[in-house]
């Protein structure tokens, strides 16, 4: 041991303290950065003196994955809920005054009123207007659904772009992790960055990963498609500019494999939720509206009164394929958007609303009224038919043998049930996400107070080293004085 050695050691100590201070300050700076993992310097004693052997990055692999999965499902449920909210508000919700169910109720009331005073042209006009409202509700609903699908399509496009961009970023981060690991440098920053990107990726799509040599990470989707291996795989999606009923949305392809939106409502990741909303929720709702439209057209069908055996034909409501009725018990795709008021009834189109009372829009054979301005039987019959069970397509995912009015409210029940499920799932997953994020933050985050107290320690250590240097200096000075 010599004074120079002592000086050298003190010098190294200063270096180490400076390094540790920089770690502390990095920790403090990033205290509120959720993607930052706490660093700590691992010291190793070294002859002579001390050195920072390694910078250790706090990690909690299990929690990190839990958080990733929770965040993935939360993101999905959040989007699902938002989508369902939109549909409930714009098409068919409990509070939606323009929903087909409400409009159908109004039509029933108007029919009842008309049946009480069949001779009144005003009331006939009122019933016709209720019919118009109903048609408008279906037409609008159908249009809204298709707009919604178009929006979802755009969202998918954006999500796919995001995903591709994130994967490209991931490649860069992954490379720097590999490089740092291979050369034994501190990979913390690269790891932070990579984990942050991974978090964002898993918001879009649930992933699982495994690591190879030098911490080279491979990402696959939950169903096994490769997302990233050495370099990003193509996530491709062709958007559809405009949707109409019956136009199927295009799939998102990941490495050539179409993305499935998840089974039994276990949707995870934004991308899957958009696909589920576009291809399942919206189309089912469209089918339901189509079935409501079919039910209404069928309920108001006119029958041959002569016994001549002519087929029943479309009455108050008709459609693109009118005057024939749409085939029974099966969905005619797009019916809700093509349903219209039969011009024969429509006073605006030169028709006669009183045909509703008398029948005969399809010719004399279909006239039901034997004569009489107060003939109400047909009107009452229409009312009955609206509440009589008919066969519905099981594809609508509702009861198959109920009345069209019940069907229309069951449709509201369906969407609200989906909303409720999504809401509850959102609640659970968000709680899980928050809990895991908190736990993860506790495992890997920074506590400023701890860092500050560490800083105090370092301050003391620094002071002590400086004092040592001063002492050696003084000793040297004393020595020099004697020369």
């Amino acid at each position: 041991m010599s004074l120079t050695t002592a000086l050298g050691i003190a010098q190294n100590a200063l270096l180490t303290t400076a390094r540790r201070t920089s770690i502390v300050s990095q920790n403090v700076t990033n205290a509120s950065n959720p993607d930052y993992s706490r660093r700590s310097a691992v010291l190793s004693s070294d002859a002579p003196g001390v050195r920072v052997a390694e910078i250790r990055r706090a990690a909690a692999e299990g929690l990190f994955w839990q958080n990733l999965n929770a965040s993935s499902s939360w993101e999905a449920q959040k989007q699902l809920l938002a989508g369902l909210d939109t549909l409930a508000i714009s098409v068919n919700g409990a509070d939606n005054a323009a929903s087909p169910a409400t409009a159908l109720g109004r039509l029933q009331e108007a029919l009842q009123l008309y049946a009480t005073t069949p001779s009144s042209a005003t009331v006939a006009e009122g019933a016709l207007d209720a019919g118009r409202q109903f048609v408008r509700s279906l037409n609008n609903g159908s249009a809204q659904i298709q707009t919604f699908r178009t929006n979802m399509d755009v969202e998918i496009g954006i999500a796919v772009n995001d995903l591709n961009r994130l994967l490209a970023d991931f490649e860069v981060a992954n490379k720097s992790v590999i490089a740092a690991r291979a050369s034994g440098r501190d990979a913390s920053d690269a790891l932070d960055q990579r984990e942050a990107i991974l978090k964002q990726i898993s918001d879009q799509i649930p992933v699982s990963t495994f690591s190879r040599a030098n911490d080279d990470m491979v990402i696959t989707t939950a169903d096994g498609s490769t997302l990233f291996e050495t370099r990003p795989r193509a996530v491709s999606f062709e958007s559809t500019a405009a949707y109409a009923p019956g136009i199927a949305g295009k799939s998102v392809y990941i490495d050539g494999i179409p993305l499935s939106p998840g089974k039994n409502g276990a949707v995870s990741g934004r991308l899957a939720s958009f696909v589920a909303l576009r291809d399942e929720v919206a189309t089912t709702l469209q089918t339901q509206l189509d079935e409501i439209a079919r039910g209404a057209i069928t309920a108001f069908a006119e029958t041959d009164r002569t016994g001549g055996g002519a087929p029943p034909l479309a009455g108050l409501f008709t459609w693109a394929g009118g005057p024939a009725l749409p085939p029974a018990a099966t969905t005619s795709t797009g019916l809700a958007s093509s349903i219209s008021i039969n011009p024969a009834f429509d006073s605006d189109a030169g028709g006669n609303p009183a045909l509703l009372r008398d029948g005969g829009a399809n010719g004399a054979a279909y006239v039901a009224n034997p004569g009489g301005a107060s003939y109400a039987d047909l009107l009452i019959d229409y009312g009955d038919r609206l509440t009589a069970p008919i066969a519905f397509d099981p594809a609508a995912k509702l009861a198959t043998n109920i009345s069209v009015t019940e069907f229309s409210s069951a449709s509201i029940g369906w969407i609200e049930a989906s909303r409720q499920t999504a809401f509850n799932a959102e609640l659970t997953t968000s709680a899980l996400k928050i809990r895991t994020a908190e736990a993860l933050s506790n495992e890997t985050g920074v506590n400023i107070d701890v860092e500050m107290s560490l800083l105090l320690d370092l301050e003391h250590a620094y002071e002590a080293s400086a004092r040592l240097i001063r002492t050696v200096d003084q000793m040297m000075a004393t020595l020099l004085e004697t020369v």
Binding site: A88, G105, Q108, E416, N442, G445, S453
Partner: protein
């Protein structure tokens, strides 16, 4: 003792999420306290929302039926009133006829009574309510009866004259009519004349009304006929009595024949009175049914509303209490956040 690490971010985030939830609950709690309904029916009921919508729609529908029943009830009341007036007119006519049979009155007076009866009947039967002819069956936009004494002669008059001519070979006003005795005229009245009124001739020449009345749905699955047609026997018989008295008392018939006419008319009026009373009873019965139906429907509406309330309603007091509790909680959490934010070593170091 296990000392676990807590990150600064976890500390600062801890209350934030619960605060957000509490705030959104506060908003819905406020809404609930004010409206007495759950803030978001769809979320609260889920699949049962369909049921709630059905119920609400049924309530609306039932209410409409109750409203329309009021309308129908007032029409039936008007019908009742008209029938009573017909009945009254009938009684007056009957007393005139009784006088005529007993020979106490002048044929002209009797004839006048007949004419008054006929006009009153036509007037009452043609009365309309709310733009609809009460006795027109479903054919409410047409007057059920034409004026018998119109000029040019009504179809009814022409047909009666033709029937007379066909039966006797001369018109009523022909001097030869003096020769017609009581039995002969009775035979005419019971035969061709009756066919004019009580048979097919009525609908051809007299009435524009349809036999079928207006059907009305008075409850969800109850349909009743809520009008009285001018084709009911009572009106036919009264019309016949009035017509034959009016017509034959002004003709050249002898006294015996006139007495027979009066007798027949009196019979008819008596029968008609009975018929009308029956119709009145039936109408009354219908009115009763409507009243019952409305009552039932109102009850149903109440029950449905109760159901709806059970499904969607919240106790406003409970909601208000919840809002208060939430406010306290949020305030506490604000205070806590402020305190926690102060709890920092940095503050003590400087």
């Amino acid at each position: 003792m296990k000392v676990s690490y807590v990150s600064s971010q976890a500390i600062s985030q801890a209350l934030r999420h619960s605060l957000l939830r509490m705030q959104s609950e506060l908003v819905s709690g406020q809404k609930e306290a004010q409206s007495g309904k759950v803030a978001d029916v769809g979320l609260a009921l889920g699949i049962r929302t369909g049921q709630a919508v059905s119920l609400a729609r049924d309530v609306g529908r039932l209410q409409t039926i109750v409203d329309s029943n009021t309308l129908v009830a007032s029409r039936l009341a008007a019908t009742q009133d008209s029938l009573s007036r017909i009945s009254e007119a009938g009684s007056t006519f009957l007393s005139a006829l009784t006088a005529a049979i007993s020979g106490d009155s002048d044929p002209a007076t009797t004839r006048q009574a007949g004419r008054v009866m006929g006009e009153a009947l036509t007037g009452i039967v043609n009365s309309s309510f709310n733009g609809e002819h009460l006795f027109a069956g479903v054919n409410t936009d047409v007057r059920p009866l034409a004026d018998y004494r119109a000029d040019p002669p009504s179809a009814a008059k022409t047909a009666f004259d033709a029937a007379f001519l066909a039966h006797f070979g001369f018109a009523q006003s022909d001097p030869a009519a003096v020769a017609i005795d009581g039995p002969a005229i009775t035979a005419f009245l019971d035969g061709p004349a009756a066919a004019e009124f009580l048979g097919a001739g009525w609908e051809t020449n007299w009435s524009n009304a349809t036999d079928r009345g207006i059907s009305t749905r008075i409850s969800l699955n109850e349909t009743v006929e809520t009008s009285v047609s001018a084709n009911i026997d009572g009106i036919r018989k009264l019309a016949m009595a009035a017509a034959i008295v009016d017509d034959l008392f002004s003709s050249a018939l002898n006294e015996g024949a006139l007495e027979a006419v009066a007798k027949t008319a009196s019979h008819l009026v008596t029968e008609a009175m009975g018929d009308i009373a029956q119709v009145q009873a039936a109408t009354g019965f219908t009115e009763q049914r409507i009243e019952n139906a409305s009552e039932r429907l109102s009850m149903q509406v109440d029950i449905f509303n109760g159901f709806l309330n059970d499904m969607q309603g919240v106790d406003p007091f409970e909601a208000a209490t919840r809002v208060n509790a939430l406010i306290t909680q949020i305030e506490t959490s604000y205070a806590l956040t402020a305190r926690i934010q102060q709890l920092s070593l940095t503050r003590l170091l400087s």
